[in-house]
């Protein structure tokens, strides 16, 4: 921590607590009511993994799937970290993910 960090305003821990809670509570409420969408996430994650595994060596911890709410809209976020330093197998297209 540099000397100037001392003067920078850091977020209060209560604000962090509230932000973290509003996300997790919304997610769990959606998950506990079937048909509201979020209940398919674990399966989606498994199936995505199966597809990606055909092209790349990858493990489960490198794929995260999450559903967040921003105002009135829902954002489905996929985050896939491909292993480093391995050239793609010849003949197989390298999938690109935005």
């Amino acid at each position: 921590m540099s000397f100037f960090d001392y003067f920078r305003k850091r977020p209060k821990s209560a604000t962090l607590a509230k932000d973290r809670l509003s996300i997790i509570v919304a997610r769990e409420r959606a998950g506990s009511r079937p048909g509201t969408g979020a209940d398919y996430l674990p399966q989606l994650q498994q199936e995505l993994l199966a597809v990606i595994a055909r092209y790349e060596k990858i493990d489960l911890s490198n794929v995260t799937v999450s559903l967040d709410r921003h105002g009135g809209s829902e954002v489905l976020e996929l985050n896939i970290t491909l292993p480093e330093g391995q050239p793609p197998r010849p003949g197989s297209p390298r999938p690109s993910f935005a």
Partner: protein, 269 residues
């Protein structure tokens, strides 16, 4: 007319038993015939907090199994008229509470003229907690201004809306109240604790009251005398307000703002 009220939270150690003891005592002080039932089979503690642990002969499970009569199992409080405790069993049998058995005991308590039946739920969302909430008309959800407690309370609110007699039979939903305990206005002011407004916004149920963090809670459980009996403490005042509000009276919320304390107050506080 009798009302079944569950005191619940999901998370342990937030003040369910303390609240059960104080609310039951407060309702009895107001003249209502009240019983507090300990649903924490295997880990009974309501008897200790209410100071009647040496008078336990039979317990809730004995009554369910027809090994004892309800009249001989109920412990009458020596300080407050109209106040009774139904202690939990110390058995390790997890399935000792059945919906049929619990329902029969609650019906019998209603026939005996009990106006308030306070169900002290165990922590968790297992059988004991489910049985404590199953027959409830109203629920007091005890929450600490802390992330794990708020999350668990939200889970419990989901169960109250789905896994209860009223929900299954399509009756009116259980009336839910939020009780925020172990609240420190000073920490809230410094931005180090979730505020009443934060928790209300997250959970979305009406506020029954705020109980300040206080030494009086430990002191009262040391003695086995619910804090509400000694009106000089802030906790007693807070619980007296809670009981009044629960009975439909209008009481302004207290213990939410950081009181300006005098120099000597801070020195000896």
């Amino acid at each position: 007319m009798s009302k079944v009220v569950v005191i619940t939270s999901g998370k342990g150690g937030v003040g369910k038993t303390t609240t059960s003891a104080n609310v039951a005592t407060g309702l009895a002080q107001e003249g209502f015939k009240t019983v507090a039932i300990d649903f924490d089979v295997g880990l009974r503690n309501l008897d200790l907090v209410m100071g009647c642990e040496r008078r336990v002969v039979y317990d809730f499970v004995n009554v369910i199994r027809n090994e004892a009569k309800l009249q001989q199992t109920l412990i009458r409080d020596k300080r407050v008229e109209q106040l009774y405790v139904l202690p939990a069993s110390q058995t390790r049998d997890k399935d000792a509470l059945s919906a049929e058995g619990v329902g029969r005991v609650i019906d019998e308590l209603k026939e005996m003229g009990f106006e308030y039946i306070i169900c002290d739920s165990p922590a968790g969302i297992e059988k004991g907690a489910q049985m404590a909430m199953y027959f409830a008309d109203e629920a007091i959800v005890v929450t600490n201004p802390e992330v794990s407690s708020v999350r668990d309370s939200d889970r419990v609110l989901g169960l109250l809306a789905a896994k209860t007699s009223r929900a299954e039979l399509g009756g009116a939903p259980i009336t839910t109240h939020l009780l925020l305990t172990r609240y420190s206005p000073m920490m809230v002011k410094r931005g180090e604790m979730l505020s009443v407004a934060d928790v209300l916004e997250l959970l979305g149920i009406p506020l029954l009251g705020v109980i300040p963090e206080s030494k009086a809670v430990l002191q009262s459980s040391n003695k086995g005398a619910p804090a509400i009996l000694d009106e000089t403490t802030d906790v007693a005042q807070a619980y007296l307000d809670v009981v009044s509000r629960f009975l439909g009276q209008d009481r302004q919320h207290r213990f939410i703002e950081d009181e300006k304390r005098s120099f000597f107050g801070r020195l000896f506080g």
